[in-house]
Amino acid sequence: MTVQLTLGGRPLRLLVDTGSRRLVLFERRIRDRLPRLPVHGEKLLYHISGTSRLDRVSLPPLDAGGTTFERVEGFMSEAPVDDYPSGIDGVLGVRVLALKGADFDFERGRFGFR
């Protein structure tokens, strides 16, 4: 399940995951579309398939159809993502979803922050 958002005015598509803690961007998918983001350290992410090393990055404003989030903490993964469907640029986790709450409207095919 994905939504198209903008990050610093540039479109990207994120997998909406209530089981992930953080906003993670796939470096291999966005490197040509986003300016290089400032890195502020590293983090090891433990998940069901093992462990991934992530760079902690400062994100420009994130916008979802008019709902804007400033100063959102993000992470960059340089791991191969070939097995993700093309067009998915990262994962939108609970750190962002919980800022406002989330509506998953499958009847209308819409996602919104509360």
């Binding site: 399940m1 939504v3 992410l45 433990y46 998940h47 469907p85 009847e107």
Partner: protein, 152 residues
């Protein structure tokens, strides 16, 4: 201790289902798998298919076969089964194909309820009141288009 506010549809509209927010991100609610009541579910929209802990699969006596999943771009071998039903008031799904995993790292979660089950109904999560409501939602703006993209 899990909250027990089971959500059901009624003339007053859907009743919110209280959830526990574990480790500040896991939405955890009570539910049932087949005749196994009192299960603990993690609602995980990023997971397809749903997953059940292997001790629950063993308790249910369901058949298990080998398969493969992908998470963060990495493939791993998993076991799969078909669960007789999943009940997560008011959601009810029969004959659910699920991965069988050791979910002990989730500290007591019996199953991860993925998008294959969750997408059967619209729902809303309020992290402030820690309530999830299943059922038709009131149209509101702003919203963005939601696309259901299967993970390979």
């Amino acid at each position: 201790m899990l909250p027990h506010g089971a959500g059901t549809s009624s003339e007053q509209g859907p009743i919110p289902l209280k959830f526990e927010l574990r480790e500040r991100y896991q939405v955890v609610v009570p539910g049932a798998i087949g005749r196994s009541y009192g299960c603990i579910f993690s609602l995980t929209t990023g997971s397809i298919p749903s997953m059940v802990d292997r001790r629950i699969a063993k308790k249910l006596g369901v058949n298990v076969r080998e398969s493969e999943i992908v998470a963060f771009g990495e493939k791993s071998r998993v076991l799969k089964t078909v669960l007789p039903s999943i009940r997560l008031a008011p959601l009810h799904a029969d004959t659910v194909t699920a991965s069988v995993r050791d979910l002990s790292f989730l500290h007591g979660v019996d199953a991860i309820i993925g998008l294959d089950v969750l997408a059967r109904s619209s729902f809303s999560i309020d992290y402030e009141t820690r309530e999830v409501v299943f059922g038709p939602l009131t149209a509101r703006e702003p919203t963005v288009r939601l696309e259901v993209t299967p993970r390979s």
